[in-house]
Subunit: 217 residues, 2 copies
Amino acid sequence: MTSQPPREAVVELLGMLGYGELLAFERMAADARLAPDLRRRAVLCEMAAAEIGNYRRLVARLGELGADPEQAMRPFAEPLQAYHDRTEPRDWLEALTKAYVGDGVADDFTREVAAFLGDRDRELVREVLHDSRYAEFAASEIRSAIGADPKLANRLSIWARRLVGEGISQAQWVAAARPALAVLVVTGSGDQEGVQTLLKRLTQAHGARMTSVGLNN
Amino acid sequence: MTSQPPREAVVELLGMLGYGELLAFERMAADARLAPDLRRRAVLCEMAAAEIGNYRRLVARLGELGADPEQAMRPFAEPLQAYHDRTEPRDWLEALTKAYVGDGVADDFTREVAAFLGDRDRELVREVLHDSRYAEFAASEIRSAIGADPKLANRLSIWARRLVGEGISQAQWVAAARPALAVLVVTGSGDQEGVQTLLKRLTQAHGARMTSVGLNN
């Protein structure tokens, strides 16, 4: 994309990511108590803590763009909170599956949209994506749990589908309520067909992630 | 103190601090939701996130000392959890008072005990003490809230006394259950009189902290 995207869309995207980081921090910190031992509990706490550094960077950039960070984030409080409220993990493996599957799709989407931004914001957004070490930790935990008890695959696959379903439902809400962001995705992708291709890529990557840990799409 | 303290006492101290960091992280992350706005909520999340880096450093040092970090921390899970369970803040100002008053006393105590350690552990322990920026943030919030509504001073003073009372009660439990740590404090202070002097210094510093934000001892 050669032309710079409109400032309004950039502010909306950074506001959404910023609030997302804050909520992800709080949720992971709470989910850490589900860990079966201290080592694992600490890893989830570390995953959580990393989100806060990213939150700060997004808020700082919103300030540089002349936006009020709180105002930029507020419209996303409701859908993001609703997603988390409706997908509260009941145990450690559900918490990890949420971090692995939910954050995986969100990161893929964010990476795609980042391509439509100017250099500076594209760099920032790519840098605040989740560290792949954490996805690997979650994947290895899920994989070995399913290895030890194959019946788990069914329950966690249903859970993963619910996560994606809730995610899509809130994403649709956001797309309808924040036209600047929706327009950025459409113009960035080229046209409606481009959007379909983007969604297909997201779906395929999600499927590959599921398969790689032994979950069924 | 010229002689090195016994390894067992050092492991107990680092274990206690490590588990304390982990719990403090989880509690502050939960308390952040009590914040009146996003900016303040994020500051508490940042305060929380800082604890996790410290946790990691303490665990690494326990490993270097040949201790199993989980085993070193486990004995402190019950008293530390009990302290937090009995002092769950009901609102933002109670949460900040807890961070300011409770962490203040704990940090002073830790700083005193650090003086009894060898160079390396003394440095580490002093470095993982709370950043004074956070105490200043909490102090300024409490001070301005009391300035705006002087009636608050009474309620928050009662709360602060309860925090200290619960803290002392758990500390006595620890002292009885972990003799190596108790002996370190006594031999480090010189004798029982030295311990009394140490407790007096802690009490005075606590009193000064209370007064400086408008709370009554």
